[in-house]
């Protein structure tokens, strides 16, 4: 079995250095690019399985790289960004980045994101399970520890959308567009209310949720085991 090839795009040699060692030790092959242009060329030449992309590149803006790539490929992209670059993160996600990791980060977090991105798109299953929670898609029913959970149709759609993307961040906009439609892309407070209701019904401790995690300012993440 060939190892997945990860393209690391960062202009800092020290970051490239430790990511190279860490990914190699985690069973990945790595290749590197230090510029946006170099990243696009490496994608074309080496056909990596995923890309780790620093948003602050010296030549092309990281977002421009995502935009160019998304026009022709579904290559999983994880962006690296600073904590205070919230807008950058949101824009990168809306442009089609699969996930983000804020610098500085522990290697475990990056590897978890990478695994989630590389996970083969789940076969359309009829039953989704997460801990005590069982979601029966054809039957439109949800049970928790065997007890039925009563959800409104919108809550059910929201739950299914989150659960189908385990470990991946979904931006507010992505969720709003898919569940409520194009007219509601900015209704973040609305979404927050629904997430609150959903947590009340499915979380064991709604005030300390462990199924739906909030990514402040960005969106929500379904926590896979």
């Amino acid at each position: 079995m060939t190892k997945p090839l990860i393209l690391i795009v960062d202009d800092e040699p020290q970051i490239q250095r430790f990511l190279g060692h860490a990914l190699a030790a985690s069973g990945y092959d790595t290749c590197f690019a230090a510029t946006g242009q170099g990243a696009l060329e490496a994608v074309a030449a080496q056909k990596p399985d995923a890309m780790i992309l620093d948003l602050g590149l010296p030549d092309l803006n990281g977002k421009a790289v995502i935009e160019t790539l998304r026009a022709k490929s579904n290559l999983p992209i994880i962006v690296l960004s600073a904590h205070d670059q919230e807008m950058e993160k949101i824009m990168a996600l809306d442009l089609g980045a699969n996930d983000f990791v804020a610098k500085p980060f522990g290697i475990g977090e990056l590897l978890a994101r990478l695994r989630a991105c590389l996970r083969k798109a789940p076969q359309p299953e009829d039953i989704l399970r997460q801990g005590p929670l069982v979601i029966d898609l054809p039957g439109h029913t949800v049970t928790r520890d065997g007890a039925p959970v009563h959800l409104t149709p919108t809550e059910f759609d929201l739950l299914v959308m989150l659960a189908r993307n385990p470990g991946r961040v979904l931006s507010h906009r992505q969720i709003l567009l898919q569940i409520w439609g194009p007219a509601h892309g900015e209704d973040v407070p609305y979404l927050r209310v629904f997430i609150g209701q959903l947590r009340q019904k499915i979380e064991s401790n709604p005030s300390a949720p462990d199924l739906i995690r909030t990514e402040p300012g960005i969106g929500y993440r379904w926590m896979a085991d």
Binding site: E12, Q14, I15, R17, F18, L19, H21, A22, A24, A25, S26, G56, P58, A82, D84, K103, P104, F105, G106, I107, G108, L110
Partner: protein, 512 residues
């Protein structure tokens, strides 16, 4: 109100009016010197006639009197012309026409002479007066235009509100032929204005309307006050001495004063806008500098931190699956980045300290020790670079060794960064007269001439593709200045390559 406070806000500039000839119209009433002048003309004519009457016929005497009438009318105006004509006729009749020494008119034709005299005198006096009047008006117009043009020049040169106000006062004085002053406050009681004028000035401030001293209801005020308005606020009030009511050009002058007020107002507004623009520019520069500092902070603190955290978590979580070389390399990366972070934090702290203007703790320092410390630190940071210090015996200096070491280290750091490996850095020192010069020389590509002037500017980076903050040299420069010395750059030093950075420090007299 406190009159001292008022005095500070009120600037009054008084200048005497230049002397100007009184205006003379064609119908101006005669004055004594003119009467005497006319009499002199007649006396000369009579004498001339008397002296020549034996050799010339009678009409030539008449002609001399005729000339005297003409001259008097031209010179002294209509009324004196008429009077001279009558006197000339009477005198001629009395002295030279038979019966002599009587005023009796023997021939009716002589009355015709009188009529001629009167006509010539009246017409000439009238025309000459009119001519003089027009000449005066033209002179006055020219004077006004001259003032306006001089004022425009002054305004163009004025670079602060006070200069505008001074020009306004000077030129209003010239136009009004009397003192002028500028008031800034609604209660200008610090000036030497009389009560009616103070009240008029106060009205001008309060009502935002001109107060003309010539208008009824001004209770004998001597000054006219014009408020200059900007955005519904009185900026200042110009007061000028009431124009002489006898002057026919007083309206033109009042209008001219209004014009210069308007121009002064525009100039003041222009200065205000210029000042606002300047402030905005300064603020933008400051903002830019702050943004650059933030970007630098965020990038240069985060990158080493990201490497350190990432490498440590890799070591801890993947330790077993990492080959030994990879483990060593990660550990080395951690060390290097921690070093880099420490250096950056040092630089930031030094810069903050220098900017805050904190006092230095100067002690006796052996420059050789400081150089050795900086070189040792550089050896640790750049094991591959070849750094040599070639030092003579050096006198002690007064300095703060940590600052000086940081400064030297930054220079070495820079030199290594911009050199093609393996970097060769040479440090030399020279004590001469009152100055100690420490020089860090590299064999790198040198600094482009256009960049050389800017290398001490915060966040300036001659080559942004090299890692760095653009702060290193700024801090070196600041440190050298704080120690009473200077930092200069010299590039190229040899055949189009190499850079030498010189730190010059003052040698204390006791040690020199």
């Amino acid at each position: 109100m406190d009159s001292k406070g008022q005095a500070a806000k009120t600037s009054a500039i008084l200048t005497p009016a230049p002397w100007m000839p009184r205006h003379e119209g064609w119908a101006a009433l005669p004055r004594l010197p003119q009467v005497l002048g006319a009499m002199l003309f007649l006396a000369v004519a009579a004498l001339g006639t008397h002296l020549t009457q034996d050799s010339f016929p009678e009409p030539s005497g008449l002609f001399l009197f005729f000339v005297a009438v003409l001259l008097a009318a031209v010179r002294f105006g209509f009324w004196i012309g008429i009077a001279t004509a009558i006197a000339a006729f009477a005198l001629f009749n009395f002295l030279f026409v038979a019966p002599l020494y009587t005023l009796a008119i023997a021939k009716p034709g002589d009355l015709l002479v009188l009529a001629e005299f009167l006509c010539v005198a009246g017409l000439t006096g009238f025309l000459a007066g009119r001519l003089r009047e027009e000449a005066n008006a033209a002179k006055s117009r020219a004077a006004v235009l001259e003032v306006l043009s001089a004022f425009a020049t002054d305004l163009a040169e004025a670079d602060e509100p006070l200069a505008v106000e001074q020009a306004l006062v000077i030129h209003a004085t010239a136009l009004a032929h009397g003192p002028a002053l500028v008031l800034h406050d609604g209660n200008p009681d610090a000036t030497d204005l009389q009560a009616p004028d103070l009240q008029a000035a106060e009205r001008a401030f309060r009502r935002h309307t001109p107060q003309d001293a010539a208008e009824p209801g001004q209770q004998g005020g001597r000054y006219t006050f014009l408020p200059l308005m900007q955005q519904g606020q009185v900026v200042l009030v110009l007061g000028y001495h009431r124009l002489d009511a006898q002057r026919p050009d007083r309206f033109a002058r009042a209008a001219a004063i209004e014009v210069i007020c308007h121009q002064a107002n525009l100039a003041l507004e222009r200065l205000r806008f210029a000042q606002a623009a300047e402030e905005a520019r300064t603020a933008a520069t400051r903002e830019q500098l702050r943004a650059a500092l933030l970007t630098s902070l965020s990038h240069d603190l985060r990158t080493p931190l990201a490497t350190i955290l990432g490498a440590i978590t890799s070591l801890r979580q993947l330790g077993a699956s990492l080959p030994p070389e990879a483990r060593d390399d990660l550990a080395l990366a951690i060390e290097e980045e921690a070093q880099r972070l420490a250096n950056y934090v040092d630089n930031l702290l030094h810069m903050t300290r220098l900017q805050a203007g904190l006092a230095l703790h100067l002690v006796w320092v052996d420059p050789a020790d400081v150089i050795a410390a900086a070189v040792a630190r550089a050896h640790r940071a750049f094991p591959l670079a070849e750094i040599t210090a070639d030092l003579p015996d050096l006198p002690m200096i007064r300095a703060e060794s940590a600052l000086l070491e940081q400064s030297l280290f930054n220079l070495i750091d820079n030199a290594v960064k911009f050199s093609t490996p393996p970097a060769r850095i040479q440090i030399t020192a020279r004590a001469q007269a009152q100055t100690l010069t420490l020089t860090v020389t590299d064999q790198g590509p040198g600094i482009a001439p256009e960049a050389l002037a800017q290398i001490f500017t915060p966040f300036f980076r001659a080559n942004p593709s090299f890692p760095g903050t653009g702060l290193g040299l700024t801090i070196c420069h600041g440190i050298a200045a704080a120690l009473g010395g200077n930092l200069t750059a010299e590039s190229p030093v040899a055949e189009g390559h190499g850079t030498a950075m010189h730190i010059s420090l003052p040698l204390p007299k006791a040690a020199a």
